[in-house]
Symmetry: D2
């Protein structure tokens, strides 16, 4: 059965010249793997506007799956996120200077939404391809969590059958030349995101394996 996956990447933020999330997904735009078509779009790293742009893109592309990708500088692994929380709490200003502190994303929205893509299956498939991956239980409180929550709330509000998720990726090496931080190559990240998209398109349900964290 044909499936369409919308992949989004962000604009650079926080002083970086590039954002590996956009560098990765743009390479996948238009790819068709088996019956899965990948579409890639860029999202502004801005509270509010990011979700508005995403909603428009979802209506335009009418995908079966939406996976937003974001940079998590300092992480070692590609990390599918488990849960989005209803909280904006910006450590730094976004790309339009907004810096909300302890504000709900959606007034009277639920405290949190679960990802509806099979995160453990995605992690396992990445690892089988020698890509360092693990499940994360926090997407932070910046625009990454914001768009993830916004996406899941849109799906809930519109009673849509779309499944949605968010994946954080590490820096790529060129970003770490003058920092002490881990990285993964862009090629590895592109492969990881492709595996995530195809896995999410093919499987509704997750697998039952160990993957939690003690804290």
């Amino acid at each position: 059965m044909k499936k369409k996956v919308l992949l989004t990447g962000f604009e650079p933020f926080g002083g970086e010249r590039i954002n590996p999330s956009w560098e990765a997904v743009k390479q996948l735009h238009g790819e068709v793997i088996d019956d899965v078509t990948l579409v890639a779009e860029q999202i502004p790293t801005v509270f509010g506007k990011s979700v508005a742009v995403l909603e428009t893109l979802v209506q335009q592309h009418n995908p079966d799956i939406v996976i937003c990708i974001g940079q998590a500088g300092g992480r070692l692994h590609i990390t599918p996120e488990r849960v989005a929380i209803n909280l904006d709490d910006a450590r730094i200003p976004d790309n339009q200077g907004n810096q909300p502190i302890d504000e709900p994303i959606v007034d009277k929205g639920p405290v949190a939404y679960w990802s509806t893509i099979p995160i453990k299956r995605i992690v396992e498939n990445m690892k089988e391809s020698n890509i360092p991956a693990s499940v994360s239980h926090t997407a932070g409180t910046f625009v990454c969590n914001h768009i993830f929550y916004g996406l899941m709330d849109y799906i809930a509000r519109t009673s849509s059958s779309i499944r949605g998720g968010f994946i954080h990726i590490p820096f790529i090496p060129e970003q770490t030349i003058n920092k002490e931080a881990p990285s993964l190559s862009l090629e590895t990240i592109v492969n990881g995101v492709k595996i995530a998209a195809v896995t999410a398109a093919k499987y509704d349900s997750d697998i039952h394996i160990v993957g939690g964290t003690t804290h």
Copy 2:
């Protein structure tokens, strides 16, 4: 106004001989600071049973505030947790050999509950006392998150006015002699927990300062 704060610490787990959460809170048992009385109890590091024991202790002590403390080996800071999620996903077995994978803590419970103690105010007060502290947005998926969710669900179910929260603490030095891991001294942790208890007892509301994370 007199207030009572129930502090809980866990049994050792994961191969450790001690649990710094219990070592810390037991030193505070019976302390009265201004009008705030501290009571300390130990909780088994066991899914299910930990929450049952906690509920009994809450009924017995009738506290105004409950703060559960747990060990987060590898963290640098004392970290008040922002949110508890409705998920058991054990990377290791608990102290009775249970290892739930991707199970809800409370069937049909909400995805998550917020802490109702003033976490940023607690962090600021710790930092003013030279104690490394920051807000955390994940309590993991083991017994620590389990009891935190169980506590907040109990408060919600019983429409209680109790305020509740969870604080993760690092290893203490004696646990790191043969590991590469950071630690804080037990004295520092005891002081930090005391500050948290008194701050939570005195203030319902939180302060409005930067404290989020980009991921």
Copy 3:
């Protein structure tokens, strides 16, 4: 002017199935870049024998430059080493079960030898190619430091004009699937080693730029 560079990689050790140092250098065997010919050989991860094998290889290939490469699992960067010390102190047994403790590599040898390849120039050239790199001031006390000291002592004893050095490299991603450790892609490491070899062949002298460490 034609130059020959002998590159060595080690056998896997410490429970790893591969050693990225050998995976990298074997890809460069036989390459000729401008007038620089690269030769790659594998060395046993064994005290004593490693140096004996290296001496034989040097006599056989008659190179202008020798650069030994070794795995430094846990490091973020490719790190040319500044100094070799006259000490074997094995935290784990080598591949033949030897575990020397606090023994000199060469009786009455000097405490240490400097690298004679231009380490800062190599680091700068790697960084210009977007490869995370920095100078290291310790090669440890296992077989990596052993062969580095053995190489420099051989050059000193034989009054040879060969220039020598040692470069530590991080894990590659497939080694970190089940560990919390940084990695660089094999392609990045291969490029880094090639840059090191060509830079060392073309330049005797180093550049004068900041690159030290406070500790």
Copy 4:
């Protein structure tokens, strides 16, 4: 037999308001443990001048042992250093604005000197007192390594029977309030330095146990 140990700590540097090395050793000034008398002095964090001041202090106090202590912000453990190298390579300016790059400390001096205090015995005694400790094989290339090399060269030049060494210590908690870095409490560091001084005074020879590093 009576012994005197001279302990030195540095001035703050690198933007810090305090230096835990001085905070620690000044608490030990004048202490007598069994037959071991401790004397503490502060040293300027300045290339050249630090060694000149140290030589004067050695002549003034006439100690049996000299142990210089320095801050290694970012390290987890108290780390007795194994080896001092003949190199100044300053990543940042010292407290008088000097920033030497790749210069020898002593012209025609040996590449390196070994510590002559029993570093593994010191580490073991610290660990028995629940103090995280391990041997380090690099003291860096800043003023810490500079004074360590200067001390050992002075001892060699003057054919002195003094034994000398250097110990790096982590930050203390108050320095890490606004950084992501590990720390040890000042009390733990004071105890560790005292153990080092007494151990060095009582034992010329080291113990034969595993303590090396693979890199």
